[in-house]
Amino acid sequence: MIPYAALVFNGFFTPIMALTLDDVQRAAHLARIAIDDAEAEAALAQLTRVFGLIEDMQAVDISGIAPMAHAQDLMLRLRADAVTEGDQRQLFQSVAPEVEAGLYLVPKVIE
């Protein structure tokens, strides 16, 4: 257990495993976000701080504890597989960046 006060102000935020620029760029690619080199460098410095904070989790014994995905551990409700909404294509497409003849336009993906 990490002393609460120490976590707040003493700044024990040393990362166990160093994050690299490659990690940042790989995550950015997976997340489909364009970032330039300067942005990636800045992100690296700040993510290193954040991961230092997160590394504190590694010190705790978690054997025998079940993961908790949800506040009340309830089963998500299921509903009947039935149509509940009417056709609202026109309304929804009114906020689209580019549409034509009821279709969303995107760059060609198959040559």
Partner: protein, 485 residues
């Protein structure tokens, strides 16, 4: 009129001392004067507001008015409201006009409430100072060089500055309670599942919860009565009988057991905050409460656990913003992948990108067990700490925030410092418990301090009782920043 509470406005409308249109116009006039300095609202639409007020007046004339019919409020710009621009504080949605209503908006409309506008917020609710908004910061009405807290900073500042009698907010890690504390108002995050998330733009779905922000505990209850309710369109919405959250307001507090977690009172908060919180606890003793020392041993893990789980959920939720069906699309791109990357690179701000990157990383191959699953296990330990504590006490009290309002720019260069601003509030979201903040005094610079009250699951009525009894004997909640009242 703008200094009146929801309860008082409701009474005036019922007595026909004023009309809803007059009331709405009064607030609109005040917003027009003060909003450009404070930045509380990102969208106002006087025509729409007045039309809604006229409909409320007609409803009253027809004898069909409810408690809050004709009473105005502001909605955090995270809630979709049909025909209103709904931005979530982001360039990504800067031109998005919602094609449907959030459940919360639907319920407020059905009650006859009048929407004054959409309030500013940290981009996609990611922030604790309202500085990450694409539309610029919100300034704290108590000191305009300081932040109002976040992410519901616009809602909090609007209520504090009397530019709205109440507002909706959302709280994923403290986003209702921390800004309420920093602006000297009241805010309640209900038990997870009480208020539907339908139409509320998702940040971290297992933690997000909407709640009321207002100037008194009683007003929180009035608004929560409208906001809460089962909704089949949110798979985590709970099916419970309707209740009046204000039913227990008058109960005396004799015998109330107040738990004080020793971890809250270890070094961490400023001396001024500590002194003010201790004075509030002393007041509760006078009201007949007994104080119980409790411990939440895994409390220190809540910030690290949160900064794994919330970004992980966010990275998944925000993948929907791809520039295809709605939202920002880059002007130039070479192919589909490039279109996605540029649209998202341009549409999201730095903090949102940072959280998506964290989430993507902790969910990526090879790290999932070490980060995500581990965090979920620790989340259970944190929830178990609360369950054990509530065997010894009825409510838990402590500070809402370790400091009072900080200066604009003071923490924006270091994300970790900013994250620690929510150190007392985050564990409550992880456990799914209800939590609230009420004003309980001021620091040496005249900035408000918030007392946090945490209840057991579904104990909102008791929490409101506990807050209301305190407000009967104190006047902190009636203090207004200069120029507001």
């Amino acid at each position: 009129m703008s200094n009146a509470t929801l309860k008082e406005l409701s009474a005036r409308l019922a007595a026909k001392a004023c009309s809803s249109v007059e009331l709405a116009q009064d607030f609109i006039n005040k917003i027009n004067v003060l909003n450009k300095d404070l930045g509380c609202y990102v969208t106002v639409d006087a025509e729409r507001t007045v039309a809604q007020a006229q409909a409320a007046d007609a409803r009253r004339a027809a004898g069909d008015a409810g408690v809050l019919t004709g009473v105005p409020l502001a909605h955090k710009d995270i809630f979709c409201a049909k025909g209103w621009r709904t931005t979530c504080g982001s360039k990504m949605l800067a031109n998005f006009v919602a094609p449907y209503d959030a459940h919360v908006v639907e319920r407020c409309d059905a009650a006859g409430m009048v929407t004054l506008g959409k309030t500013n917020m940290d981009e996609f609710a990611m922030g604790s100072s309202n500085e990450t908004s694409f539309f610029g910061p919100v300034r704290n009405p108590w000191d305009r060089e300081r932040v109002p807290g976040g992410s519901s900073g616009g809602s909090a500042a609007a209520v504090a500055a009397r530019l709205a009698p109440a507002a909706t907010g959302t709280d994923t890690g403290g986003s209702i309670r921390q800004p309420a504390a920093l602006t000297g108002i009241c805010g309640l995050k209900p038990t997870y599942g009480l208020v539907s998330r339908y139409g509320m733009i998702a940040f971290a779905s297992s933690l997000d919860q909407a709640g009321p922000m207002a100037r008194t505990a009683e007003d929180l209850g009035l608004l929560l009565n409208v906001m809460a309710g089962h909704d089949t369109r949110d798979s985590t919405s709970l099916e419970r009988p309707a209740e009046d959250y204000n039913r227990d307001l008058a109960k005396p507090l004799k015998g109330l057991r107040v738990g004080l977690p020793k971890e809250f009172f270890a070094a961490g908060m400023t001396a001024d905050v500590q002194k003010t919180i201790e004075a509030a606890i002393a007041e509760y003793r006078k009201l007949g409460a007994t104080v119980v020392d409790i411990s939440l041993p895994n409390m220190g893990l809540s910030v690290p656990v949160y900064y794994v789980l919330a970004p992980a959920e966010a990275s998944s939720n925000l993948s929907r913003f791809d520039g295809v069906r709605y939202g920002h699309r880059a002007a130039e791109y070479t192919d589909l992948l490039d279109m996605y990357k540029r649209s998202r690179g341009e549409g999201f701000g730095a903090e949102v990108k940072r959280r998506i990157l964290i989430g993507t990383y902790v969910l990526s191959h090879g790290y999932y067990d070490a980060y995500y699953i581990r965090a979920q296990k620790l989340r259970r330990l944190i929830a178990q700490d609360f369950a054990a504590a509530f065997k010894q006490c009825d409510v838990i009290m402590g500070p809402t925030s370790p400091t009072t309002a900080f200066k604009l720019g003071e923490k924006s260069s270091d994300p970790v410092q900013m994250y620690l601003s929510d150190i007392y509030t985050i564990a409550v979201n992880l456990a799914g418990l209800p939590g609230m903040s009420i004003p309980c005094g001021f620091d040496g610079s005249g900035l408000p301090v918030g007392l946090q009250i945490i209840g057991n699951y579904f104990d909102e009525a008791r929490m409101l009782n506990v807050a209301h009894q305190y407000q009967l004997g104190t006047d902190w909640h009636q203090r207004a920043p200069q120029g507001a009242a």
